[in-house]
């Protein structure tokens, strides 16, 4: 039998609107890292030793060197490592660097990832995102969990006019519909 071919939740969706673009990002790996109780310092020093950075507080993110993961602070005692997908298993990559300093769970296939970018991206997101995305409030690099159209979403600002939205894979078509409707409604 041939090897199994992967498929992305939204078949690589991409659509351009006026000063706005919605693209599915398919090449990312995502691993949750939980810090063992009482051994938080060990994890912190493992991260700093391996990547030269401190773990981000909840609501913000920090990027290691190019090609290395970006860590998203999502809840007390938990962060997500976001990095480019490679042949090696996502958890193995992190475990190789951090050994057993944390508990790792592969989340790469749990989420559909959309990038909403362009100078009108905030205007489109206003229609579904309850959070204040003003650049002074939700700065580049900021990350938050929220709800859009009844769906849980992790929103991460990866640029002045660019956001990554992560929502559950199974409901990705509904989520995409919500985002595309917002784009259409502001045109």
């Amino acid at each position: 039998m041939p090897r199994l071919a992967p498929s992305s939740p939204l078949n690589g969706f991409r659509q351009e609107f006026d000063r706005l673009e919605i693209t599915e990002i398919t090449d990312l790996a995502l691993v949750s890292i939980a810090s063992p109780q009482g051994r938080e310092a060990e994890l912190a020093s493992a991260v700093s030793g391996a990547y030269g950075i401190a773990l981000p507080p909840v609501g913000s993110s920090v990027e290691a060197d190019a090609g290395e993961p970006r860590f998203l602070g999502l809840q007390p005692g938990q962060c997500f490592a976001l990095f480019e997908r490679q042949d090696e298993g996502p958890v193995d990559i992190i475990a190789r660097k951090l050994s057993d300093a944390g508990y790792y769970t592969d989340q790469s296939d749990s989420w559909a990832v959309l990038r909403v970018s362009g100078t009108r991206c905030r205007e489109a997101l206003e229609r579904i995102c309850p959070l204040d995305l003003h650049p002074q409030t939700f700065v580049t690099g900021a990350v938050a969990r929220t709800v859009m159209e009844h769906l849980g979403v992790i929103i991460f600002r990866d640029g002045e006019d660019s956001f990554l939205l992560l929502s559950a894979r199974s409901s990705a078509p509904s989520f995409l519909h919500a985002v595309v409707t917002s784009a259409k409604n502001i045109q």
């Binding site: 199994l4 769970t105 199974s170 509904s174 989520f175």
Partner: protein
């Protein structure tokens, strides 16, 4: 008819003529007109019929408080009844029709009601239609309903689309009149993020409708300049055509933005957007609403609020009459007279209830001080007025000013009680404003122009300072404090013709007195008894008049009488806007498994399981009944092999040094000693001892487990575990994360399942019964290297596995499984066959784990370990839950084998009638068992385990069916479990 009442000036774009029709007559107006101003310009006076008496009515106001000029706008599904002509922006091609008449507007057949008025007083239907009782629903109510009311719905689906959204600001300014504009300038210059919203399409409020100068220029020009400055600032969002309709908790405001209502077509864009605005501070600059005075026949077309007559002349260059009289109790009415005179109107008279003239009257006007209007004439339009001094004055328009009521509505949405102020004879905001709200200008009782500008500036300054901004020091624009003295005169007390208080609901002064006489004396009772202050205008021009009459009857003051409670919305909000885009399939999200596409290609029939769509069965060619498909699928599983997508089950990744101990506490049975590489069935209790959920948990490593939950409880179990982890046992090292979405999981069940999986799982993994026995689990690879998890568990009772691959491979995996399974005649099976198989095996699901059943009821009492504690352990020992005659989960088979059982049927002894007193339990699940060839069921029955073989009745009164059933073991197939261990 052309624009006979159009005059020079106004804020219109005369280069853009707009054609529209009213009741089929084609008319013309200009860009900048409202429908009302265009009708006035065209000399149209009669625009509708009143609610109850079908009296002829004309335009009464120039704003959202309009009680009379309600029209149906547009046609068919786009038709919108009860649209206020006074706030409808004119567009080319607008189609409007009047409401609430039979036959032409001018000759309404229902006008007979007006002659029946003595029989139609407040509450008449409570009194008149009491007997015979049966007539109410069939006759009286339909007749009343069809003769009363305003516009009619089209009955068609609304073809427009609506949207919602979220906005954030430091300072929300509600209303863009002088106070609002001044507040916005101050706030914006301080650097704060400002939203300025106004229901009008043109910012400026009274600056556009009056003639007073600001900063040495006309008010309207100053407003334009202010708007231009605000528009140029990045930190300001201007929202015209936007009504802030409600003040909610924590500085949250509801706003309705009308985006395409002023256009002929929406062009596929949302017609309206309902915004939720999060503000840190809000400044209410909502202005004031003029009120009327109640006097005899004060409802004729041509009788209007004075400020509105002035607004039509100044802003819209439309004179509502050629010969206009003014009836006032305050100074402002005199300004109306002078403004109108300046536009060339003939001022017939100024009638002031007070004794001393405050200002100079226009030349030629009769001035009657200490006088009032007692009656009017002119059925379809005002012809003359009669004064208390006996004189009759001919006029075609009467401008009435009863003083100004501050628009305190939003200040009261969190139950603030407005306070009475004698000097303006009106209510102003009280001390308990919604959090973060300030009030400025006329809404705060500051009725003069200079005061409004000053208050707007001051409140914005203070709000900005509170938020840590450095307010800019700006010079207040110069303006005058005009004369605004008023008197508390609300209605003309005379035994004459009916004096209207609430024009929209046809409530007269007499109705209010009747309400008092009949004991409905609280203002809230008055409102419900007479309908005063109800419907689309919520009594904006009427409430205070009603209160004054009630206060008089009670012998108390107006403040003692109090106001009714103001509730959102401030003005009507279409249901479509409240629904937003949550229509049809977009009402809630749909979750799809990774095998969905493949199932669609196989023509699967889907069923909703919560938000999930699951394949229910897969019809094959020639199958005409669902049972054929389901029976075939179930039989194939028992005989060979079948595959079912079980991704929807909740999967929770549990890690930590104390993970095993954690599971030991949340499950009733022991998990501490579960070896790595093994799966165990677990039962979870609620604190009250009832069964909460069940599932299997696999130990992947010393500190690593993966739990499965039922599909329905995936979220609630996760929430429960987080509660346990964070709140009950914060000292445990345990971490949870959902893995439901991460893995595509398939049940491979049937005697050939191992054979099939040997072609799937890479050869280095030994699947023999010895190496991978029942309840084994492990990480394997499939199809040359794809990581996978394999669990040997069985829901069907057959030799079975569940195999999981990362979701990205789910689609490829189901296709590959079907391909390699072809030689075994593999079938995909859906939730129906899944259900048949589990009922045959006696496995409980949500039907049995209904939240009211215990482990003992389910025959699982041995799973509540007494060697350790767990959630629910103690309360499961309650004596009532352990009665001798308690329920037991049993199997049921029809005595007559060809009969079908029904779920929900209740059991009674054969010799007793099927009544509640004799109820012994109920049927929870039924299926046709293709294995046994007859219908089978599971259910709970008292003392079930002692009654095997007994015949009882299964009564199903809902479906009108009672049959005899025999109590049997709940395990219909392979009770010893030999197949699953093979």
């Amino acid at each position: 008819m052309s624009q006979t009442h159009r005059i020079d000036g106004g804020l219109l774009d005369r280069s853009r003529a707009l054609r529209f029709t009213f009741n089929g007559t084609s008319l013309e107006g200009y860009a900048g007109d409202t429908l009302a101003s265009a009708l006035i310009a065209n000399g149209v006076k009669l625009v509708g019929r009143s609610f109850k008496y079908h009296r002829p009515r004309g335009i009464f106001t120039a704003g959202s408080e309009e009680p009379n000029a309600l029209v149906t706008l547009r046609r068919d599904g786009h038709g919108e009844p009860n649209t206020r002509a006074t706030v409808t922006e004119l567009f080319d091609g607008l189609v409007a029709s009047s409401q609430n008449h039979r036959g032409p507007l001018r000759y309404d057949l229902m006008a007979v009601n007006d002659y029946l008025a003595p029989f139609l007083s407040a509450g008449f239907y409570y009194k008149t239609f009491m007997w015979p009782k049966a007539f109410w629903e069939k006759l009286y109510e339909p007749v009343i309903r069809s003769s009363a009311g305003l516009g009619r719905l089209s009955g068609k689906a609304d073809p427009d689309i609506y949207d919602k959204g979220f906005l954030h600001c430091d300072i929300l300014i509600i209303g863009a009149g002088p106070a609002g504009l001044c507040a916005a300038l101050s706030a914006a210059r301080s650097g704060a993020r400002v939203i300025l919203a106004d229901e009008d399409f043109r910012f400026g409020g009274r600056l556009n409708t009056e003639t007073m100068a600001v900063a040495g220029t006309s008010g309207a020009d100053w407003a334009q300049q202010a708007v231009a400055e605000l528009a140029s600032m990045d930190n300001v969002r201007l929202m015209p055509r936007t009504t802030i309709y409600g003040a909610y908790d924590h500085g949250i405001y509801g706003a309705l933005e009308r985006r395409t209502d002023h256009l002929a077509e929406s062009a596929g864009k949302p017609r309206q957007v309902l915004w939720r605005i999060y503000s840190k501070r809000a400044i209410l600059c909502a202005g004031a609403t003029e009120r009327s005075i109640a006097f005899g026949n004060n409802d004729r077309p041509g009788i209007m609020l004075a400020g509105s007559v002035r607004a039509y002349a100044n802003r819209w260059a439309a004179l509502p009459g050629k010969r206009i009289a003014v009836f006032t109790n305050n100074d402002d009415g005199w300004r109306t007279a002078s403004d109108l005179a300046a536009h060339g109107a003939d001022i017939a008279a100024i009638v002031d209830t007070r004794d001393r003239a405050p200002l100079e009257a226009p030349a030629g006007a009769t001035v009657a001080m200490g006088a009032y209007v007692t009656d009017t004439k002119g059925r379809h339009g005002l012809k003359s007025i009669t004064l208390s001094n006996g004189t009759t004055i001919e006029c075609d328009c009467l401008a009435v000013s009863g003083g100004w009521s501050p628009n305190v509505h939003l200040t009261c949405h969190q139950r603030d009680k407005p306070q009475w102020r004698d000097d303006i004879a009106g209510f102003v905001p009280g001390p308990d404003l919604p959090v973060g709200m300030r009030v400025a200008g006329a809404a705060n009782g500051a009725l003069t122009l200079a005061a409004a500008l000053r208050e707007g500036h001051e409140q914005a300054h203070a709000a900005a300072e509170e938020l840590g901004f450095k307010p800019a020091s700006i010079a207040l624009p110069a303006a005058e404090d005009e004369a605004v003295e008023t008197s508390a005169f609300f209605h003309v007390k005379a035994d004459g013709p009916r004096a209207w208080i609430d024009l929209q609901n046809d409530v007269t002064a007499k109705d209010v007195k009747l309400s008092h006489q009949e004991g409905f004396r609280s203002v809230e009772h008055l409102k419900r008894y007479t309908t005063l202050g109800m419907a689309t205008d919520q009594g904006k021009t009427a409430n205070l008049l009603g209160l004054s009459v009630m206060a008089e009857c009670n012998g108390r003051s107006i403040p003692e009488t109090g106001t009714t409670i103001f509730r959102p919305p401030y003005t009507p909000v279409a249901i479509g806007a409240l629904a937003g885009r949550s229509r049809g399939k977009a009402f809630r999200p749909t979750r799809l498994t990774t095998s969905h596409k493949s199932a669609e290609e196989r023509d699967a029939v889907f069923v909703e399981a919560g938000q999930w769509l699951r394949a229910q069965w897969f019809p094959e060619k020639g199958e005409t009944h669902w049972r054929e498909s389901v029976d075939r699928e179930a039989v194939r599983v028992r005989e060979s092999v079948g595959i079912c997508d079980v991704t929807t089950l909740g999967k929770i990744d549990i890690q930590g040094r104390d993970a095993a101990e954690f599971l030991n506490r949340v499950y009733s049975n022991g998990f501490a000693k579960l070896p790595v590489g093994k799966v165990r069935y677990g039962l979870m209790l609620r604190e009250d001892g009832m069964v909460m959920d069940d599932g299997t948990t696999a130990r992947l490593g010393e500190n690593h487990f993966v739990m499965t939950t039922t599909t329905a409880n995936a979220v609630s179990v996760f929430r429960h575990l987080e509660f346990c982890r964070q709140c009950l046992w914060p000292g445990l090292d345990v971490h949870l994360i959902s893995a439901t979405e991460q893995w595509a999981q398939f049940a491979v069940a049937g005697p050939h399942s191992r054979d099939l999986l040997r072609k799937v799982v890479d050869p280095e993994f030994d699947l023999s019964n010895e190496a991978f026995p029942f309840m084994a689990c492990g990480e394997v690879t499939v199809f040359d290297g794809t990581p996978s998890r394999l669990f040997r568990i069985s829901f069907s009772g057959e030799l079975a596995y569940e195999i999981a691959v990362p979701a990205r491979y789910g689609d490829a995996m189901i296709r590959a499984l079907m391909d390699v399974g072809e030689e075994f005649g593999v079938v995909p099976y859906g939730t129906e066959a899944l259900s048949v198989l589990r009922i045959e095996k006696g496995h409980p699901v949500a039907n049995e784990l209904c939240g009211q059943t215990t482990a003992r009821d389910l025959g699982l009492e041995r799973m509540v370990s007494k060697k350790k504690d767990c959630i629910g352990n103690t309360l499961s020992e309650r004596s009532h839950l352990n009665r001798e005659d308690g329920l037991a989960l049993m199997g049921f088979a029809p005595v007559m084998r060809n009969e079908h059982l029904s779920a929900g049927a209740h059991f009674t002894s054969r010799d007793k009638p099927a009544t509640t007193e004799n109820d012994e339990g109920w049927m929870t699940s039924v299926a046709y068992s293709p294995t046994l060839g007859h219908s089978i069921g599971l259910g709970f029955i008292a003392r079930g385990r002692d009654r095997v073989g007994e015949i009882v009745q299964a009564a199903d009164p809902l479906r009108g069916k009672t049959i005899e059933v025999r109590i049997v073991s709940p395990h219909f197939v392979d009770p010893e479990g030999e197949r699953q261990r093979a």
